[in-house]
C-alpha cells in the first residue's frame, strides 16, 4: 500500500520536486555568499544609538538602517540619484559601497516560491512540499519494512544497486528533507492564512509624541539599550518633521522611539506565532547560518538524486512484463486455481509456465493474484500458491489481504493445496510469507498435495524438480520447462583458457573473455557479480561468478564441468575466438563493504572465482585473507600462480589452503579451525566473512564459524544481520 502510493505520487510529482530541489540548491548558496561578504561582526557590542548617530552624520537624509540575517548592515538614504542603499561598516558607520540586491537570487527565489504566477504558483509549491513530506514518511516506513523493523533502520541494505543507493541517499538526507519540506508546507499554510505568522499588521503610530527640538541620536535612551546584533530595522523620522518618531524592529519586537525624549513608545513584543514563524523561516532558508545553508544545499541535491534513483528503481521493476496467460478461465469453472503473490513480476513468469503445463494436461486453470481469493471455488480440486516474499518476510502488495480473506474461504473436502515459495536466501526472512500461507492453509483444514517448497533466486531447475514431484502426485506429467524472461544478451569472445584437473572426473577451466564493445551492449560489472550464460534459446541461463571487474578490461569465470551439464559442457568446449551469449546480473549482496576492515574469504573449488576478482582489484592493500579448499595441488590448484603474485605484492594478506585428495587429507574447515584464534581477532576487528561454494561446504563452514565464534558469544546469524557474513552458494 505504502509502496504503491510512494511510487506513483513520486512519479506524478517528480518534475515539480526536481524543480524545487534545483532552485532550492541554488538559493542555499545565498546565505553562504552573504556570509562571506559581510564584514566580521564578531564581538560586535555597539548600540543602535551609536551607529544610527554616525550614519546620520555621514549620509544625507538617511531613511533607514537595516541589519540583514547575514550580519551585514545597510543604510537607505536620499542621495543625488534618489533613494540609494549602501553597505555600512557597523563600527564606524562609513559606507562600504553600494548595495544592490542580487538579480539571480531574486529571480530564483520568485521561481522557487511561485513560478512567477502568484498564488497559483504558491499553491503548487505548497502541494509539492506536502508531497515531499509524504514521500519522506512513506519512504521511511518502507525502509523500516524492508530492513525488518524500525530498530534496524541503519542496517546495510541488500538488493540491486539502484535500490540500495536510493536507500542510502534517502537515509542520509531524510532529516533535511523532512525539515525543508515541512517548513515549506508551514510557510505555504501561512501564505494562505491557514496558519498564522503572528503578525497583526502594523504597530499603531503612538498617539502622543513629545515634539520640539530633537535630541542627538546617540543620546536616545531606548536606542542606547539595543545591541547592534539585535537590530532588524530602524526607520529615521522624516527630516524636519518634529512630530515624527523612529520606528524600530528588533529580534524581540517592534515599536517607536520618541526623537526628543528617547523613550520607547508602544512597543509590541513578538508573539509566540511570530517566533515560530521566524524559526520555520530560518530552518527553510538557512538565512544567517551559512553552515546550515550548505547542509540544505546538500539535502536539495540529495532530493534530486532520490528522484532519479527512485525512477530507476521503478523502471527496473516495471520492465519485466507480465506474461500472457492463454486459456485463463473463470475461477467458478476451473478445477485448478493458481494464486500468485509477486513482488517484481518474476513469479508471474513461473505461474505462466505452470499454467501452460496444466492446460496442456487437460486441466481447466484459473490464475489470479492472491488478493483475488474467492469464498467459493465450486469445481476446484487443486489450489497452487506461488508466493514471493517482501523484504521483511511479509506479503507482497498483491497478496496483503490474502490471509484475512482466507478466513472466509469455504473449504471443500476435495480441494488439495501446494505452496511454492520464491525468495533469495541472502535475505533474513527467506520465503517467510510462503511459510505463513502454507501454515494458514493447513490450519484452515485443506488437504496437502505437496509440502512447502522453496525456490532460491528463481532457480528454474528447482522449479522443474517441484513440477516432477507435484505431477507425480496428480498423476500427470508436468514438464515445467521454465524460461525466465532475461535481459538482452551481448556476445563475449574467448581470449584465453587455463585448464585444470584433467586426471579427475570433474575438469575445471578458467575462461577469459573480451568485453563486447560499447555499441554491442557492453555493461559494467564488479567482481562477484554474475554472468548469465544462455546456451540455447529456450534454456534458462546458468549463472557464474565473475573473477574480474570491469576495470580489469576482461571478463573471467571459473567453470567446473558437470557430468551431463549442457552449459558447462559447452563452456569447456570453447576455443579462443569462440563466442558465447551472456548478460550481467548484479550481485550487490556479495561484495566487500567499502571500508578498510579485514575480509576473510572462504571457498572451495570454483568458489574461488569472486575472491580471485576481489584480490586482483585490491590495489588499496586492504587486509584480505583467503581460506580455500581444492582436491589435489597437482591438478586443480586454481589461480596458483596469481595467488603467490598477489601475496607477494600484499594484495593477499594471508590465509590457508587445503587439499582433500592427498595423503594429508584436509578440508577448508580444518584450516579455519587451525586459525580459530586469528579469525576471532579478525571478527572482533570488524572483519567481513564471505563464503562461496557448494551447499554442503557452506553448511559445514557455517558450523565451523559458529564453533569458532562461540567464545565471543556470537554466531553467523548475528554477523549476517550486520552484513558481515555473506554467502554465495550454488
Amino acid at each position: 500500500m505504502f509502496r504503491i502510493s510512494h511510487t506513483y505520487l513520486a512519479l506524478v510529482a517528480a518534475l515539480f520536486v526536481s524543480f524545487m530541489a534545483i532552485t532550492g540548491s541554488i538559493l542555499s548558496l545565498e546565505p553562504v555568499i552573504s556570509w562571506s561578504q559581510a564584514s566580521s561582526t564578531n564581538g560586535l557590542n555597539g548600540s543602535v544609538a551609536e551607529l544610527a548617530n554616525s550614519v546620520s552624520g555621514k549620509f544625507s537624509d538617511p531613511q533607514k538602517l537595516i541589519r540583514k540575517a547575514s550580519g551585514a548592515f545597510l543604510v537607505y538614504y536620499y542621495g543625488d540619484a534618489g533613494l540609494t542603499a549602501d553597505h555600512v561598516d557597523p563600527l564606524s558607520g562609513s559606507s562600504l559601497g553600494i548595495y544592490s540586491p542580487s538579480d539571480v537570487f531574486g529571480f530564483v527565489t520568485e521561481l522557487h516560491r511561485s513560478f512567477f504566477i502568484g498564488d497559483t504558483g504558491r499553491l503548487i509549491t505548497g502541494i509539492t512540499a506536502s508531497i515531499m513530506v509524504f514521500l519522506s514518511l512513506t519512504g521511511l516506513a518502507l525502509l523500516a519494512k524492508r530492513l525488518g523493523g524500525w530498530r534496524r533502520l541503519l542496517r546495510q541494505p541488500q538488493g540491486p544497486a539502484q535500490q540500495t543507493s536510493h536507500i542510502k541517499i534517502g537515509r542520509l538526507s531524510i532529516l533535511l528533507l523532512v525539515v525543508t519540506a515541512l517548513s515549506g508546507v508551514w510557510m505555504s499554510l501561512v501564505n494562505f492564512d491557514v496558519l498564522s505568522d503572528g503578525s497583526t499588521g502594523y504597530v499603531p503610530f503612538p498617539e502622543f509624541v513629545h515634539g520640539g527640538e530633537p535630541t542627538a541620536i546617540d543620546g536616545l535612551v531606548a536606542l542606547q539599550g539595543i545591541n547592534l546584533g539585535d537590530l532588524r530595522e530602524l526607520v529615521f523620522p522624516v527630516a524636519g518633521d518634529v512630530t515624527d518618531v523612529f520606528s524600530i524592529t528588533t529580534a524581540s519586537g517592534s515599536g517607536y522611539v520618541d526623537q526628543v525624549t528617547g523613550t520607547m513608545l508602544s512597543f509590541i513584543p513578538n508573539s509566540t506565532w511570530q517566533k515560530i514563524y521566524q524559526a520555520v523561516y530560518t530552518l527553510h532558508t538557512g538565512q544567517g547560518y551559512w553552515w546550515y545553508a550548505i547542509l540544505l544545499g546538500v539535502g536539495a541535491l540529495g532530493t534530486l538524486f532520490l528522484v532519479y534513483s527512485g525512477m530507476r528503481v521503478w523502471w527496473q521493476r516495471t520492465r519485466l512484463p507480465i506474461p500472457k496467460l492463454a486459456n485463463n478461465i473463470s475461477d467458478s469453472k476451473a478445477d485448478v486455481i493458481i494464486l500468485v503473490a509477486s513482488q517484481s513480476n518474476t513469479t508471474w513468469g513461473f505461474a505462466a509456465t505452470l499454467h501452460k503445463a496444466l492446460v496442456k494436461n487437460g486441466h481447466r486453470v484459473s490464475t489470479a493474484p492472491m488478493n483475488n481469493l474467492q469464498r467459493v471455488y465450486p469445481q476446484a480440486r487443486h489450489l497452487f500458491i506461488l508466493a514471493a516474499t517482501s523484504g521483511d518476510g511479509g506479503a507482497p502488495d498483491n497478496a496483503d489481504k490474502f490471509l484475512t480473506k482466507l478466513e472466509m474461504l469455504n473449504v471443500s473436502p476435495g480441494m488439495q493445496f501446494a505452496v511454492l515459495g520464491f525468495g533469495d536466501r541472502s535475505f533474513p526472512k527467506y520465503c517467510g510469507f510462503a511459510g505463513d500461507v502454507d501454515a494458514a492453509l493447513q490450519a484452515r483444514g485443506l488437504r496437502r498435495l505437496h509440502n512447502l517448497f522453496e525456490i532460491d533466486r528463481s532457480s528454474a531447475s528447482q522449479f522443474a524438480e517441484w513440477g516432477d514431484d507435484v505431477g507425480t502426485s496428480m498423476n500427470a506429467l508436468l514438464a515445467l520447462d521454465h524460461t525466465p524472461i532475461h535481459p538482452k544478451t551481448a556476445g563475449y569472445v574467448l581470449i584465453d583458457r587455463h585448464d585444470y584437473g584433467h586426471k579427475h572426473e570433474t575438469p575445471k577451466v578458467i575462461l577469459r573473455f573480451k568485453l563486447p564493445n560499447i555499441l554491442n551492449g557492453r555493461q559494467r560489472f564488479e567482481a562477484g557479480d554474475l554472468i548469465g550464460i544462455v546456451s540455447s534459446r529456450n534454456s534458462a541461463p546458468r549463472f557464474y561468478s565473475l573473477a574480474s571487474g570491469y576495470a580489469d578490461g576482461f571478463l573471467e569465470i571459473c567453470v567446473s564441468k558437470h557430468p551431463g551439464g549442457v552449459c558447462s559442457g559447452l563452456l569447456h568446449e570453447l576455443k579462443p575466438g569462440d563466442r558465447i551469449e551472456g548478460f550481467i546480473r548484479e550481485n550487490p549482496q556479495f561484495r566487500p563493504h567499502a571500508n578498510m576492515k579485514p575480509v576473510v574469504m572462504i571457498g572451495a573449488g570454483t568458489g574461488i572465482a569472486p575472491f580471485a576478482g576481489f584480490l586482483r582489484g585490491n590495489t588499496r592493500k586492504r587486509p584480505m585473507y583467503l581460506y580455500w579448499g581444492g582436491r589435489d595441488p597437482a591438478n586443480d590448484f586454481l589461480y596458483e600462480k596469481n595467488l603467490s603474485e598477489w601475496h607477494a605484492d600484499n594484495r593477499l594478506t594471508g590465509g590457508k589452503i587445503a587439499f582433500s585428495r592427498i595423503a594429508q587429507k584436509q578440508y577448508v574447515q580444518d584450516k579455519l579451525l587451525e586459525d580459530a584464534a586469528f579469525i576471532r581477532t579478525a571478527i572482533a576487528d570488524g572483519a567481513q566473512v564471505m563464503v562461496c561454494g557448494g551447499v554442503a561446504m557452506a553448511r559445514d563452514v557455517r558450523t565451523v564459524i559458529n564453533d569458532i565464534c562461540r567464545p565471543m558469544g556470537i554466531n553467523h546469524e548475528m554477523l549476517k544481520q550486520d552484513g558481515r557474513f555473506l554467502e554465495d552458494v550454488y
Binding site: K64, L83, P101, G106, D197, Y202, V203, E207, V238
Partner: protein
C-alpha cells in the same frame, strides 16, 4: 466601494445640507521599472488642514508589510479605520494602478490631497512617494514620484 461611499456621504452630509453631488475620480499611478517583486502602495486622502481623511486603496495583500507604508500608518493609526474591502494585488515593476473613487464635489478644489506611499521587498520604502492635489485644475495633470512612482495623475 459601497462602504467608502457611505462613509464619504456621512462625513460630508453636515457640510452640505442639500443633496450631495458626487463624481467618479480616476487616480492613475504608473510605476518605474525596478528590480524586485510587486510593490505595495497606499493611496489615501488628507484634509485641507493636512489631517488624514480616508484610505482609497491599498495595493498588496499581506498585512504584515503594511508597516512599511509609514506615512499611511501614521495617518490612519488614530482613525482606527479598517481597510477591509479596500485592498488588492501588489503592483509589479513598470505596471499601472488605476483606482476609481466616488468623491463628493465639495472635496474638489477644497485643499484635499491624494498621497501615495510605496514599499518594495529588499528595495526600500517611500513615504509620500507622490502627492497630488484633488483639483479640477489638475485634471489630466501628472506629477512625478520620488521613489517607485513614475507618474501620478487624477482625472475626473
Amino acid at each position: 466601494m459601497k462602504k467608502l461611499i457611505t462613509i464619504l456621504l456621512l462625513s460630508t452630509a453636515l457640510l452640505l445640507p442639500r443633496a450631495a453631488i458626487a463624481r467618479d475620480v480616476i487616480i492613475t499611478a504608473e510605476l518605474k521599472s525596478y528590480r524586485g517583486p510587486g510593490a505595495y502602495l497606499a493611496v489615501y486622502l488628507t484634509k485641507p488642514d493636512g489631517r488624514y481623511d480616508s484610505t482609497l486603496w491599498i495595493a498588496g495583500e499581506k498585512q504584515k508589510y503594511y508597516g512599511h507604508l509609514r506615512g499611511w500608518v501614521r495617518a490612519v493609526s488614530r482613525s482606527g479605520e479598517s481597510v477591509d474591502g479596500l485592498t488588492g494585488a501588489s503592483v509589479g515593476s513598470g505596471r499601472t494602478l488605476n483606482i476609481t473613487a466616488n468623491l463628493s464635489d465639495a472635496m474638489i478644489d477644497a485643499g484635499y490631497q491624494i498621497h501615495v506611499d510605496t514599499a518594495v521587498e529588499d528595495g526600500g520604502e517611500h513615504t509620500n512617494d507622490a502627492v497630488v492635489s484633488l483639483s479640477k485644475d489638475n485634471k489630466g495633470m501628472t506629477v512625478g514620484g520620488r521613489g517607485f512612482i513614475r507618474s501620478l495623475s487624477v482625472s475626473m
